[in-house]
């Protein structure tokens, strides 16, 4: 089975992120345990994407810290968290080579990464596309490949930044199935989304973010039935927030 030494829990303390003096993340504290799927909700510009990037280490906080149970979220030197972007980044290579490239970067040897890439393609029914140039795939196929790539990297934690916002319903359904499967394997997901229905379908826990702060941190059931703040109630009702 998979390595059980976990990089979780993840602890975020007094996190601040500023650009040109503007405070975009304004003092966030957060604790992420193993197993649950956490969904970030909130209007555009609330700071959801920034929070994911800060947790994943793509951005350096202005103040505060992001602390994993193991340094930098690495176990035995291998990074155990990864990220899937809103618009998947596809290298100008075949589907198969997109997988092996990521695995090579993670330090796998030639045979190991080829085997792992084949397994990922089988696992997510992408094997037919293996030799296709990744950049001519449909948006849905590209995002499936991006998630397969994340799976192949065998990360404990996946950060997902609105992975289905540009996809049609059937592609969205396929992605959600993949995410459920990942969760069933015991992986921890933290996802930003605009899609309230998607949040209801997938979330165990909801973080409601507004103006760089976490306004509510509740179980999904509690959040959707009885939001604690006026902002969250307005957001759920479909009102525009400033």
């Amino acid at each position: 089975m998979r390595d059980t030494t976990s990089i979780l829990p993840l602890t975020v303390e007094s996190l601040v992120f500023e650009v040109d003096g503007r405070r975009l993340i304004d003092g966030i504290d957060l604790h992420l345990e193993r197993g649950a799927t956490t969904v970030l909700l909130g209007p555009n510009g609330a700071g959801k994407s920034l929070l994911l990037r800060l947790c994943h280490g793509l951005l350096t906080p202005t103040a505060g810290r992001v602390r994993w149970a193991l340094p930098e979220g690495r176990a035995a030197g291998v990074k155990r968290h990864t990220m899937v972007f809103q618009k998947p980044v596809m290298l100008r290579r075949s589907v198969f080579a997109n997988l092996t490239h990521a695995l090579a970067a993670a330090g796998l040897g030639y045979e190991a990464r080829r085997a792992r890439a084949r397994a990922a393609l089988e696992r997510f029914r992408l094997a037919d596309l293996a030799d296709r140039p990744a950049r001519v795939l449909s948006g849905g196929e590209q995002q499936r490949l991006a998630i397969a790539r994340a799976w192949a990297l065998d990360a404990d934690v996946l950060f997902l930044d609105e992975p289905t916002s540009q996809l049609d319903p059937s592609a969205t359904r396929a992605i959600e199935e993949m995410l459920r499967a990942l969760k069933d394997e015991g992986r921890t997901l933290m996802m930003a989304t605009h899609d309230l229905g998607q949040a209801r379908r997938l979330a165990d826990r909801v973080l409601f973010v507004h103006a760089g702060r976490i306004r509510e941190d509740a179980s999904a059931a509690a959040f959707f039935t009885a939001p604690a703040t006026g902002k969250a109630r307005a957001f759920l009702a479909g009102d525009l927030l400033d």
Partner: protein
């Protein structure tokens, strides 16, 4: 000057009736391809690094490299000449009036083109790839191989531009090579020599063959690029 004389000159050249022609073609290709290869080995990684690095004064470096694309060949030639002359700092190498000197001078001409065009290409690609590569821990120099490989079809164009500059120039190779028959005479210096001898049909014939060679090389590279690009868009 009549057309028939040019045709005859070309026929003589290609048919081997003009002694020493094929070695001149060989030397031209050797010098130019070596210079482009050297410039590629240095310039591709350097241009890629310049494309992704952010440091104070970077804009000035970018402008400088772009300006160096217009470096006059005679100036490059003169600089290398002074460097390699027996009275110059690298005199003991004994490289003056040799193919090595010509390769060095042309490398100096091609390098800015490769660096500048690579920088531009990689900068655009980096904008698209940055987050994904950073997520894979491929930052800084570690991102360079991926970027170069994925930009390979655009970069071929950069190398072809470099090849064009090197194969067409006469100023630098004439100064540092000396146009020595059988040793450092290239297509372009031979053209200059035949022009000065007043043998204009022969000079023009040589010129047309040089253009033909350049055309063939570009067609091959373009074809290879098309085949590859179809595969990896």
């Amino acid at each position: 000057m009549d057309f028939a004389a040019i045709i005859t000159a070309i026929a003589d050249l290609l048919g081997g009736a003009t002694p020493g022609f094929w070695p001149i073609v060989g030397l031209s290709l050797k010098v130019t391809l070596s210079a482009v290869t050297l410039a590629a080995l240095i310039g591709l990684p350097l241009g890629a690094l310049l494309g992704i690095a952010r440091f104070p004064g970077r804009t000035a470096v970018v402008v400088l490299v772009n300006a160096m694309m217009g470096l006059p060949p005679v100036v490059a030639g003169l600089a290398i000449f002074l460097l390699l002359s027996r009275s110059g700092p690298l005199g003991p190498l004994g490289w003056l009036f040799s193919a090595k000197a010509m390769i060095l001078a042309q490398t100096m001409l091609v390098l800015p083109i490769v660096v500048a065009l690579t920088r531009q290409t990689i900068e655009d690609l980096w904008r698209e790839y940055a987050e994904h590569l950073a997520s894979l821990d491929l930052t800084g120099a570690r991102a360079v191989p991926t970027l170069l490989w994925d930009a390979r079809f655009s970069l071929v164009t950069a190398l072809l531009a470099g090849f064009g500059r090197a194969s067409a120039e006469v100023g630098a190779v004439l100064i540092v090579g000396g146009n020595i028959a059988g040793h450092t005479r290239t297509m372009t210096t031979a053209i200059a020599l035949e022009t000065s001898k007043g043998d204009l049909p022969l000079a023009l014939g040589l010129g047309l063959i040089l253009i033909l060679l350049t055309l063939i090389l570009n067609a091959v590279a373009f074809g290879a690029g098309r085949v590859g690009a179809r595969h990896a868009r």
